[in-house]
Symmetry: C2
């Protein structure tokens, strides 16, 4: 069993990006610039956005944090998006989700210029991804693909079973693992809460991507010998063993599943650290105007 070390790979890629940014600056090019919009004071969102801004600084990007109280109106937020769309110094920007209930997330996302949509959530990017065209890939599926690539894991003709059908992980991961290129070319099965014989299906899988958000859902008796298991779950489970009072728990019962795997990602330190790196990659591409 080999552990897929997302933390290590993320550090390597950050290093690669930092070197490229140094080169761009040396050549007199424009420093990539990411803006992040944060509405309200949700603890999770604060942490994520702070980590994104820090990562930008680490690799030499310019970053701008724009904060609003959670009583901002939809129209005011749309005006902010419009301003960022038109700001030629901003290469890409994100609006941290979730937004307060009185604001339509779909409306905000669709208002973002897809050429600056480094989260890859705009329908144009989702559609282009589905069609196999160049686009900004959303962070989690992109991070999964990068891990498979860096560990040179063969995917062609493998049966990839995806647990979960969310718009941000399950569906895009399915489309990507299906595409006629590496990593991809898999037979893909998507399971979810309505799936009847999930154990039987998982036992057929060469690759399992678990993204249900159900702690330790995938047990040892659901995985065949030699499988590759990618754990996307990150649920905060109460724990008296940590200072914070909770433990980040994946969708995989690691101790049971790991001994049967050829490769497995841990939680934390697997897919998680890759997501911010995917955002940095997109911002670099946006800065270089590589895609659009």
């Amino acid at each position: 069993m080999q552990l897929i070390d997302g933390k290590l790979i993320a550090a390597q890629i950050k290093q690669e990006i930092a070197e490229e940014v140094t080169q761009i600056k040396t050549d007199g090019g424009k420093t990539p610039h990411l803006a992040a919009v944060l509405v309200g004071h949700d603890g999770g969102s604060e942490t994520y956005v702070a980590a994104k801004v820090q990562a930008c600084e680490d690799v030499g990007f310019k970053s701008t944090l724009i904060r609003y109280e959670d009583n901002i109106t939809e129209q005011e937020l749309l005006a902010c998006v419009e301003k960022l769309n038109n700001d030629t110094d901003i290469d890409g920007f994100i609006v941290q989700l979730p937004l307060p209930e009185h604001i339509s997330e779909d409306k905000i996302i669709e208002a973002i210029d897809y050429r600056k949509d480094v989260d890859g959530f705009h329908p144009v990017n989702v559609g282009r991804m589905s069609l196999g065209l160049p686009c900004f890939l959303s962070a989690t599926p992109s991070g999964i693909l990068e891990l498979l690539k860096r560990y040179e894991i063969e995917t062609k003709g493998k049966h990839c079973v995806i647990l979960g059908r969310s718009n941000i992980v399950g569906k895009p991961a399915a489309l990507l693992m299906l595409q006629k290129r590496y990593p991809g070319d898999c037979t893909v099965t998507v399971c979810h809460s309505r799936t009847k014989n999930i154990k039987e299906i998982c036992l057929q899988a060469d690759i399992i991507i678990a993204a249900l958000g159900v702690p330790e859902f995938l047990r040892g008796d659901m995985v065949k010998e030699g499988a590759i298991v990618i754990d996307v779950g990150t649920t905060r489970v109460p724990s008296n063993k940590t200072k914070s009072g909770f433990k980040l728990t994946g969708d995989v019962a690691f101790d049971e599943v790991a001994p049967k795997c050829s490769y497995i990602t841990p939680v934390p330190g697997g897919v998680g650290p890759m997501t911010i790196v995917s955002l940095l990659k997109n911002t670099l591409l946006a800065g270089k105007k590589t895609i659009f």
Copy 2:
């Protein structure tokens, strides 16, 4: 075994649309107007476009056919698209594919205003479909869903196996059968040329959507008792039994498979007639400005 009669359902829906158009006209509303752009003289394309124009007339739409020789430049075709985008009398339009090799189909499709993209090929419509948002659905997947609905076939929790991963059938059908609504809520497996144990997977299917383009690929011993089989294949196979010298052949070996099925679509007369009806439905929606 019950035959799914696409020809009959298509005629019913055309009748429903015709009644709605009559009502719109009676109420002094705008007659829906579809334009079709045909480049060159490909036999298949000529036939398809003629059928689409005829269907528009049958239901009381206005239709406009715009023809170009196949030496039209990409820029000239883009200018035509731009003109149609800005023509307020045109509610929706299609550019018949395939286009000559010197013209980028992706570029033409992306130039179409997605609010008039009644083929549902624009990335915005593909992305919105993937995200479960209102959009113009492309014709074949939309036709399949309509057939399942009209025959009141239960789909929730069923295992739907899709043969083929094309952008116009396999991928969208997978996303739609996966969605959290009816018809949908299926466990979905997508198989293709790289799939190793396709027979074994098909034998697990409650619903099979065959869209490989390989005549009579699905044999009797690949289908379990009671399965629902939707045949999307339409390959012209040479035949000395028909006047035209060929026979339209599906991806399903009908005589072997049909006796095992609870429901099955024939070829011709199954999914085929539904595709033009889907285009009419989209044009009606475009005329009513229901989606965008």
